[in-house]
């Protein structure tokens, strides 16, 4: 089975981000980056499916040259090769633009299964995978917590709201957006890291006129609407004041 996994590189979760001077994006010039969390679960699921059913796992990522870092990481974890759609303009692109950039090289490959994360930690469009399914003209299902592969079909467990689930089946090729927690992640071994160096990363240019469909007019820090009492001082002092307030003011202990 030929499986694609779409992986996005995002700013490390704990990075103290600042808004850029034009208030349209973040200043990420010296930020550190990591693999978008649900994408790591999508990759793990792809590797497990390959172990069960054979085949190949191909990492697909769109973005500037720095994206190579997460591609190498995915190869070190066990993906076989990669496609990198490379362009500076893809660094802060909207979901449909990214899907369009990925679609052309992915269509050629004729994957049996395409896995993406359900949402990115930075822009959080929650749609790149779904739109990619439209561009690839294949059926899709979202927020998946289990994947069963049969002959020419997949049966998947969709997470619904409020603790409900549902099984859905469809023919392959198909696209699934994977939810965090579907499996337990593996980490790269030294052997994997060495092997990754020799694996193929195909660089692809995005289509010439890639259309931006949404633009960020202004990025800002949200205003606080609720009154909050912050306790400062050394930990013992702050903790003492908090406990006092919980007893005397809130009366909850």
């Amino acid at each position: 089975m030929k499986i694609a996994v779409c992986v996005k590189q995002v700013v490390t979760r704990d990075w103290p981000l600042r808004i850029n001077d034009s208030h349209t994006w973040v200043d990420d010039r010296d930020a550190s980056f990591e693999m978008n969390e649900p994408d790591a679960y999508a990759l793990e699921e792809a590797l497990r499916l390959k172990e069960q059913h054979g085949g190949e796992v191909v990492v697909c990522s769109a973005g500037p040259p720095r994206v190579n870092q997460v591609i190498r990481e995915a190869l070190a974890r066990g993906a076989d090769r990669a496609i990198h759609v490379e362009a500076e303009s893809l660094a802060s692109a909207d979901g449909a633009m990214v899907a369009e950039a990925l679609a052309a090289p992915m269509e050629e490959e004729q994957f049996d299964l395409v896995l993406t994360g359900l949402q990115s930690d930075d822009q959080g469009f929650a749609q790149t995978g779904v739109v990619l399914a439209e561009f690839l003209s294949i059926p899709h299902a979202t927020i998946i917590m289990e994947v069963q592969v049969g002959a020419g079909r997949v049966r998947v467990k969709r997470e619904l709201e409020g603790g409900w689930f549902q099984w859905v089946s469809m023919s392959t090729p198909a696209l699934l957006t994977i939810q965090s927690g579907i499996n337990q992640l593996r980490y790269a071994t030294l052997k994997g890291i060495m092997a990754a160096k020799k694996k193929e990363v195909r660089l692809v240019e995005p289509p010439a006129e890639l259309a931006r469909r949404q633009e960020i007019l202004m990025l800002s820090v949200p205003e606080r609407t609720k009154e909050i009492r912050l306790f400062d001082g050394a930990p013992a002092e702050a903790a003492g004041k908090l406990v006092q307030a919980l007893k005397d003011d809130a009366r909850v202990i």
């Binding site: 808004i19 973040v26 749609q127 779904v130 089946s169 007019l217 909050i228 930990p235 909850v252």
Partner: protein
């Protein structure tokens, strides 16, 4: 005109649909509401009580169970014939699945998870969180109509819906869909085995997030919970990693709680977590990042390292 797509399951309206109606009513445009399914007349009648121009109803046996293919096909036919300026939905699990693809059929993107709209000149601009709520962005669709937007659950109050003096008219819509257009085959929804722990009854909850760093430190949180007479709960990543069982998870895919005291330790405050706990009476946040969104819902807070603050709270409690 704004077309709101309402959501129903088994003839029951999803409550967040009212919030999308409110979002539309707050603009200067006329509002119509579309509902799709099979046997949805009573849902349409319910929607018709709102102060809107009309309700459009797609009633088709192939739409009895929700499938993305079926719904996208049917709804796109009505969107095409009505040519609205904008299409609004609630940002639910179901709209996450079909609405981006629906928008793509119209060469558009969906502006997801919006919390407000603004009229800037002749442009409708949407306010949405980015970087997990750390920032908010004013976002505008580049091309004109129709634009597609989905609204974060809880961003508008459903009881703010303006009711009409008369019932709005209900117009059944003809759509052409066939069996072979629907590639997904769905089984009935189910719940996992009954939750072992019911946190909704807890008076006090100490919840832990990824700031705890490793499974070994969970014990620290358990000590604080014991000192407070509280239950232990967690954000999703803690349960995903297997550091606490799934039935301790709070949020949109976990339990919803409203205890007297909710103490959030090393939890950033992503919206999917907030929806499960923001009804708590007193919320306390301990986080080393002063800009963490959790501080926006907290009553009390300490900006600091939980590994220093939590032991200090434990000893303050024993005094």
């Amino acid at each position: 005109m704004i077309l709101v797509i309402a959501e129903q399951r088994d003839g029951v309206l999803h409550q967040a649909s009212w919030e999308a109606v409110v979002a539309a009513q707050r603009t200067t445009q006329a509002v119509q509401v579309l509902v799709a399914g099979s046997g949805v007349m009573s849902v349409a009648e319910d929607l018709a009580t709102a102060d809107i121009d009309s309700v459009l109803m797609i009633d088709h046996p192939l739409l009895e169970a929700y499938t993305p293919d079926g719904f996208i096909e049917a709804i796109s036919q009505v969107v095409r014939s009505m040519s609205p300026d904008a299409v609004f939905l609630a940002h639910t699990y179901q709209s996450r699945e079909f609405a981006p693809r629906l928008a793509a059929r119209f060469q558009q993107t969906l502006v997801t998870d919006c919390v407000a709209t603004k009229q800037v000149g002749d442009r409708l601009v949407f306010v949405r969180p980015m970087f997990q709520g750390k920032f908010v962005a004013d976002v505008a669709p580049v091309a004109l109509s129709p634009c597609f937007a989905s609204f974060q659950i809880g961003a508008f109050r459903q009881d703010a819906v303006v009711r009409g003096s008369d019932s709005a008219a209900i117009y059944p819509q003809e759509v052409v869909i066939q069996d072979d257009m629907i590639r997904q085959e769905v089984e009935p929804p189910f719940q996992e085995a009954k939750q072992a722990v019911d946190l909704s009854q807890a008076e006090r909850i100490v919840a832990v997030g990824r700031g705890i760093k490793s499974k070994d430190h969970i014990e620290l949180v358990e000590r604080l919970a014991a000192a407070l007479g509280a239950e232990v709960a967690a954000s999703r990543p803690i349960c995903d990693s297997g550091w606490l069982p799934m039935d301790r998870q709070i949020g949109s895919s976990g339990q919803t709680v409203s205890p007297k005291l909710y103490l959030a330790l090393g939890i950033s405050g992503a919206i999917q977590h907030l929806v499960g706990m923001k009804g708590s009476r007193t919320i306390v946040a301990v986080n080393k990042d002063p800009d963490a969104p959790i501080f926006e819902v907290a009553d009390f807070g300490i900006v600091g390292d939980l590994f220093e603050v939590v032991p200090a709270i434990i000893s303050a409690l024993s005094e």
